[in-house]
């Protein structure tokens, strides 16, 4: 079996795992720094909510982190500081996302390792591929649910007049589709594993 490509891909996943570890550590340290500086640090937090503005001209002003005013011809929305709860929820979401990515990369690395030694058709690999499919679909759904949850937290601290503000609903259909393809491949792989066992036990 040609092992150059699996070796390359395994090397890539090893690098990605190392990079992800560094990023996760940096996030934890950065969060600790922000807490340690008593909120005087600066950070960007993307809020998943949706505005409907029926005017071409609008302005967004902000005096401090987490606060601001959105003004347009049809009305105005005031954002109060949503508090530390939102930051903690968003941070936990990022950590959870990194953890899922970490597990997915480890599963991929193990699959490539079996390819290098020439025995990819193993029941474990079929199971690993199936889990990758579940992760892709579950990740897309979880992302949407979490965004709605964060949006609810933010909307609690918004008061608006004349402007329509709602949750941002945008399910990542591409990720769901990719997940379904991975699940189909896992089933094909499971059948391949069965054929491999038959071949191994044919004398």
């Amino acid at each position: 079996m040609q092992t150059r490509l699996p070796r390359l891909l395994r090397g890539f996943t090893t690098f990605a795992i190392a990079l992800l570890t560094v990023v996760a550590v940096a996030i934890v340290v950065f969060a600790a720094f922000l807490i340690g500086t008593d909120g005087s640090g600066s950070a960007e937090l993307r809020v998943p909510i949706q505005f409907t503005i029926d005017s071409d001209s609008y302005s967004l002003t902000s005096d401090s982190w987490g606060e601001g005013t959105l003004s347009s011809a049809s009305g105005e929305a005031n954002f109060e500081d949503p508090g530390v709860g939102l930051a903690v929820a968003a941070g936990a979401t990022i950590i959870a996302g990194l953890a899922v990515a970490f597990v997915a990369l480890i599963l991929l690395r193990r699959i490539f390792s079996t390819m290098i030694v020439g025995t990819p058709f193993l029941p474990e690999n079929a199971r690993r591929i199936r889990w990758l499919g579940y992760m892709a679909i579950g990740g897309a759904l979880a992302e949407q649910i979490i965004e709605i949850g964060l949006g609810m937290l933010v909307l609690n601290s918004v008061s608006s007049t004349g402007l329509e503000i709602d949750y941002h609903f945008n399910l990542n259909l591409a990720a769901v589709f990719v997940g379904l393809i991975i699940l189909a491949l896992a089933e094909v792989f499971r059948h391949g594993t069965s054929l491999q066992t038959d071949a191994d036990l044919t004398v």
């Binding site: 066992t197 038959d198 036990l201 044919t202 004398v203």
Partner: protein, 68 residues
């Protein structure tokens, strides 16, 4: 399993070891061991033919069907 393999008795009758038969038949000892212990899922005609030739027997002497 209702099909049983009787390589043990045949080897004993011919005073032949598993390694020797594997060598003569041209398959690995590991594969012949799989056949001997009844773990095999399938047997190639070519393997059966070679075993019968070396042990001077019929396929029915190697494999037996016993209804459960």
């Amino acid at each position: 399993m209702t099909i049983s393999v009787h390589l043990d008795q045949l080897l004993l009758d011919h005073k032949m070891t598993l390694t020797e038969l594997a060598d003569r038949v041209g398959i690995t000892v590991a594969n012949l061991s799989i056949l001997k212990t009844g773990k095999a899922r399938a047997v190639r005609f070519s393997t059966l033919e070679a075993i019968c030739r070396e042990l001077n027997c019929q396929p029915g002497d190697v494999l037996r069907f016993s209804p459960e």
